[in-house]
Each structure stands twice: as structure tokens, then as C-alpha cells.
Symmetry: C2
Subunit: 265 residues, 2 copies
Amino acid sequence: MRDKPVIYHIPVCPFSQRVEILLDLKGLRSAVEFQVVDITKPREAWLLEKTRGTTALPVLEDEQGRILKESLVLMSYIEERFPATPVARQDPYERAVERLFITREGPFGNAGYGMVMNRDRAKTEEKRKALLDQYAWLDDMLRFHNPEGTFLFDRFGWAETVYTPLLMRFWFLDHYEGFALPDDPAFARVAKWKAACLSHPAAQQVRFDQIVKLYYDYAVGAGNGALPAGRTVSSFTFTPDWRDRPMPPTDKYDRIATDAELGLV
Amino acid sequence: MRDKPVIYHIPVCPFSQRVEILLDLKGLRSAVEFQVVDITKPREAWLLEKTRGTTALPVLEDEQGRILKESLVLMSYIEERFPATPVARQDPYERAVERLFITREGPFGNAGYGMVMNRDRAKTEEKRKALLDQYAWLDDMLRFHNPEGTFLFDRFGWAETVYTPLLMRFWFLDHYEGFALPDDPAFARVAKWKAACLSHPAAQQVRFDQIVKLYYDYAVGAGNGALPAGRTVSSFTFTPDWRDRPMPPTDKYDRIATDAELGLV
């Protein structure tokens, strides 16, 4: 029997980062062992056997070899396994507001990924509008529940742990789509929240240039480690290291950059 | 200040029934006051003010006038407000399995509602297949986590509270689509679970003929209290009472029954 749970993960994956931030906030980073899976290769047989065929990560294996999936499920599991340092609100009403706030994490993520993966200029504005609608909903919730504050409650908590990894992935929108929240009072509350989330000490597992480089393939429409046309190495490859590669070009609507241009060979 | 929370609800709504079942399992039916909203009329201004414009129900108002929405959020709120009689699993691993199991409640509901609302015969088989895919996933989970048992764990619990109201709404599929789970070992585990859910004493808030009569309009493609073509009274009307109406015809692909034929006038 293992002496601690293991999480099989892709280091740059936002869903894995949620669990890392949670552990950091709880002061329990070493309570779980992280084992890296290479997204650019087919899943290995031993892992598929554990997951009973599903390929989505992260996956948690507990000390008894039992498997759990889905990042929000893993977050709650960690919170309940290690209850001494709660991150979720303890008051039932506040906890409910927190849960309501995270009901949009799926649509929010889809809006951002849908925007970065789009290569049809005719749809750019529609994709941008869909993402802004999500930000507007978050702005309204933050303004209603904590008008003068920074986070949903008095500190970076459960809600921020859920959204921050997505906010960080959306750096790819800054680079590839020239996206920025409008400088408009209607988005002022969510802009304040977003800035505080991005700079929080517990959420520094990834960097702007890392996300932009690794997610290049998403920007040209290829998700989950798939190879764009004309390329032989995924932008998610572990070698060469992303630190040694140049920033990718932003002309995603016009062409797909080569392996060489991306510093992949 | 009120002396207990109020839930504004549509009595036949599956999302409201979830909370009713939970309260029943906790032995707390009178801990919450239920106030009926007529789905066939526009929402009243005082309710829209409370919800800040959203029309979805149920909505909970706590003793201090604070508003909560979304049935799963309300369920967790009730569970945490009244922790003495827990319905959710208490072991973190089991609680996680329960949470994983209910991640499909949205797609499951959508598959059933998508099937009943379809009026294009060319799409009937595709809709049926989509619903069976959902049942197959549930079967696999039940078989893996409790192969010899009836429920996901040792009793009707949180997972069953979430799904049973949907299983009961899907009575409209039995009537209007002639749907039944295939008599096939691949669905035997979920069929056993479904039968036990439908007959559980804590879940008898609605009846087969009630669902079939009230949801007639869904069967001809009109959701949320909207009126089908040629009709002046919604099948969700409170008067005449559903008990006094005949069972609706099943020829939903061919025509829309009249008010008179449905016993609505």
C-alpha cells in the first residue's frame, strides 16, 4: 500500500493546477505525490487499466489503489481528507454562494478554449462576445456578493482555486487573440478579481510564456496533444523545454508555424 | 425575519423534488416552507426582484432574505444547515464516488428531455441511442462500485436523490415514446437501480399519470409552460386538476391534441 495518494497529471493542465493550488492553500503540498503523464504520447496500458479506459487527467489513486476522476471531485476529496485547514467556506449560506459561483466554470472554460481554437475570422467577434458574457456574469456575482472587496469573500478561496487556472490558460487569448477585458465599469469588478487571482502566491505553478508556448497548437485548432498539419512535434512536448523556445508567432488565422520556427526541433 | 427558509417552486419540477426527497430522508420535511409558483403565468415582479431577473426554479430564500439558486446547491445547503442527519456519504472516498456519479445528471436530463421534445421521426432512434448511452454509463458505475447491491451504496442516498426525480419525469418517455430499458444484461444493473429508486418511500411526491398528463406539452415540443400551437391552456395548469383529466393521446408525431381532448377546458 502507498503511503499517500498519487495524482497522474499533465503539469500544465488547468484541472491539475486546481488541486495544486488547493494543496498549497492548505499547506499540504507534500500530502499528495504528483506523477507526470506525457500528453503527446498515447496513454500507457497500466494507466488505462487504472482509469478503466478514460484518458482525461488528472486522476487520483488513493493509498488502497482506488481511482477518482474529475478535478472538482478531487478538490472536494482533498478538502475532506484533510479537513484541518479548510479552504471552502464553512458557513452554509456562504458555501452555497461559492458553489453557485463555480457552476459557470464549465461554460467559462469552454468559451475561452472555443475562442483560442477558432481559426475562422468571421467567428472571432462571436467568440469574443461569448467569453465576455461569461465575464459579465462573474462581474455581477462578485459585485453583488462582495462589492467593495477583491475576492468572492474575504480571501483567495475555493472559488478562486477553481477559476484561476482557467484565467491563466486564457493568457493564450492575450497573445493569440489580442484579448483584454474592456476598460469599462461593467467589467471593473471582475478585472480587479482577475488581477488578484493571477498574482496570488498560491497560484504561481505556471507562467505566461509557458502557457503561450505550450498551447500554440490549441491556437491553430489542435487540442489535447493532437498534431497540427505539417508538424511532427507537439507544442506540449517536454523536450526541448519551453524555456528554450522562442515566443510563437501570433498569425494563427493565416498559417501554422513550423516545428523549427517554434523551436521544437 | 422568517422562522424557516422558503423554497419557491413548481410542484411537479424534478429539481424541486430533489430537495423534497432530501428533506424527507433527513426527517425534516417541515424545516422548509414550500411556496408554489404557477409556471403557466409570467413570473411576478416580487419574485423577479428576489432572483435578480432569473426565472429558473426552485429558488430558496433564507431567514434573512438571502437568495440561493440551483437544485444541487440547495441540496448541499440543506445538508449543511441540518447536519445531524446526513444523507451524503461521510467517507471522503465514497463521497467522491457519489460526486463522480452525479456529474452526469445534466447530460442524463438533457438526453431524456431531448427525446420527449423531439417530433421528428427521423431523429427518434438517435435520441433513444443518446439516452441509452447515459444509462450505459450509469450501469457501468453501479456495477463497478456495488455489483451485487441495489443502490450506489448500501441505501437510497445522495446519488439517488439527484437522479430519481429525472427517472420519474422520464415516465413521459414510457408513455409518449414507448421507451423501455432493453431487456439485456448490459442494462440489468441500472434497471435494478431504477426500479428501486422509483419505488422508494421517500420519493413518492409525484405519480406516473400526473407526469404524463402535465408534461403533454413537452411531448409536442413546448417546454417551460409555453403553449403549443392551437392551444389556449397549458398542460401544466393547476385547474382543472390533473386527476380530473384523461390520459393524453400518444400520437405526438402526428398532431397536437386540443384543449378539450386533454380535459383542460
